[in-house]
């Protein structure tokens, strides 16, 4: 299966730009054009907001049977990450042992190759997350 062309050109995937509702202040990622809380009141008031890329693992799973384009990466960790900015997203956890992936672990965004299309050789980039460095107190 080929990735539709418009997917490749989603800039929010590279720079973690979300949306902020000018009416109630809710931050969404991926960005929305309408706030689910304010609906009509939010039209024209949604602003771009750069997210910190820092957050915490809500839950995770280790993928061992991969979708097409991900076969060479198995086993890899997929996680739901609650960002400090509010929204939750889905991403891989990389650069660590799989056993180190835990609910509640602090993580931060990095930019990496996501998948490769074997037929065309096209490579897609986007965010992954790694465990945050322990804070020195």
């Amino acid at each position: 299966m080929t990735v539709p062309r418009f997917w490749r050109e989603i800039p929010q995937r590279y720079n973690l730009i979300g949306s902020k509702c000018g009416s109630c202040g809710t931050v969404d990622f991926p960005p929305r054009t309408i706030c689910p809380h304010c609906r009509r009141k939010s039209i024209g008031k949604m602003e771009d907001i750069k997210l910190s890329g820092k957050g915490e693992i809500v839950s995770y799973s280790i993928v061992r049977e991969a979708p097409e384009g991900f076969e060479i990466q198995v086993p890899y960790a997929m996680a739901l990450i609650k960002l400090d900015d509010g929204p939750t997203l889905t991403a891989q956890i990389v650069d660590c042992e799989l056993e180190e992936v835990k609910i509640g672990a602090r993580v931060e965004a990095v930019f990496r190759r996501i998948q490769e299309e074997s037929k065309s050789g096209v490579i897609y980039y986007g965010y992954k997350f790694q465990l945050a460095m322990p804070q020195v107190k």
Binding site: M1, I62, R64, G126
Partner: protein, 389 residues
């Protein structure tokens, strides 16, 4: 809205059916349903067909008129509608057929479901199954459907103390029921260690926590309750049919240990049927993954939130338990041909309420419930059927 009854049912065996094409499957199921209802076929005035991804699995779209054509009914020129709602497609097709008859717009309607899944490679299968997730913000990053259910399972274990053994108990119980179902794909019993020691698909879920991709079709015939007695002396009334939705992506849900869409659909369905969860005698629920069944029995009110695993392991949901769940073997043992599953659930409930479920018969069942989920819960359907009328 008038009362609606199910007057006939039919299904194929579920499994890896090399010799049967998609059109063979749905035609067989439809013909069996028409025969079960004692109809000729020409009296049917509408058709609804649920299929999730016929286009990707076998390259065929525009399924609904094809099905009517193959059933030899093209000269009736009846409207034929294809319904897609992920792996809840069959249940939504059933509900659309119900609404068509309840509203008076149609008199005699067939609702079917079909999927021909086993012609594609295993990685293609993973991709196609995940098309009912958010393609741009889940699948793009490498999430498979199994891994999203794996995350629900992991969170449920972390928060409520649910164990791998409790998940395994769901698969063991459903295989035990499948042994008693002639149409089931897996008619052999399994042990807890078979589940625990099987290969991991997406931690903490092993192969045996996942329902098998299968080929199969199922169909049912609906008409008004008033007219139903002309065709059968045991009409089964549709006491409630409710559908709800939620965010497409799991990461946008209020909580990943509860499917709000299921909770809401169940609440409305119990109100429509005028009953409480305690009155339900048996249920078919969405066990595409074992954690799905545990969350379902909680969200439907058969077990307290967080205690679904205990209920499964203690035998409360077994054939002879307090509330038998997935007497057919569920998706785990009956097989899970995506679009056909919702209709197959209805058929199990109908057979149980008519007292013709053979070795897996639940005694004196009056109310049966079928719960179906599309994707990770973006679509939920709850149907309640009533027998003994």
């Amino acid at each position: 809205m008038r009362d609606v009854a199910v007057i006939g049912v039919g299904m194929t065996k579920f499994g890896e059916l090399w010799e049967q094409s998609l059109r063979d499957l749905i035609t067989e199921a439809g013909m069996k349903a028409i025969a079960d209802a004692n109809l000729s076929g020409s009296d049917i005035d509408g058709a609804y067909v649920g299929t999730m991804s016929a286009g990707k699995f076998v390259g065929q779209e525009h399924i609904a008129p094809l099905v009517v054509d193959m059933a030899g009914l093209s000269n009736t020129h009846i409207p034929a509608v294809r319904v897609e709602a992920g792996d809840a497609s069959g249940s939504v097709a059933f509900r659309e057929a119900y609404l068509a008859v309840a509203s008076g717009a149609h008199e005699l309607v067939i609702a079917g479901g079909v999927e021909k899944m086993t012609d594609v490679s295993s990685s293609q299968m993973v991709n196609i199954q995940s098309t009912s997730c958010d393609q741009e913000w889940e699948a793009f990053f490498g999430a498979s459907m199994s891994s999203l259910y794996g995350m629900m399972a992991r969170a449920h274990m972390h928060r409520y103390g649910t164990t791998r053994e409790q998940l395994a108990a769901v698969a063991v119980k459903n295989h035990a029921n499948g042994v008693l179902n002639p149409n089931a794909r897996f008619k052999f019993p399994i042990k807890p260690e078979d589940v625990l020691k099987a290969g991991m698909v997406a931690d903490p879920l092993t192969t045996y926590d996942c329902a098998p991709a299968s080929d199969g079709a199922a169909a049912v015939i609906l008409c008004s309750m008033e007219r139903a007695r002309k065709f059968t002396d045991k009409p089964i009334r549709i006491a409630a049919s409710v559908q709800a939705s939620d965010t497409i992506a799991l990461h946008d849900r209020r909580d990943i240990c509860t499917m709000d869409s299921v909770v809401l659909a169940a609440k409305k369905a119990y109100a429509q049927a005028g009953i409480t969860a305690e009155k339900v005698n048996l249920a078919e629920v969405h066990d595409a993954y074992t954690i799905g069944e545990i969350m379902a029995i909680e969200d439907l009110g058969f077990a307290e939130k967080g205690k679904g695993g205990i209920a499964a392991a203690s035998g409360e949901t077994a054939l002879t338990g307090r509330i038998p769940i997935n007497t057919s073997g569920g998706m785990k043992a009956r097989g899970h041909p995506l679009g056909a599953t919702g209709i197959a659930q209805i058929i199990e409930i109908v057979d149980q309420l008519k007292g013709r479920a053979g070795g897996r018969q639940v005694k004196d069942a009056k109310f049966g419930l079928a719960q179906s989920v599309g994707g990770t819960g973006a679509t939920a359907v709850v149907n309640i059927l009533e027998g003994g009328l």
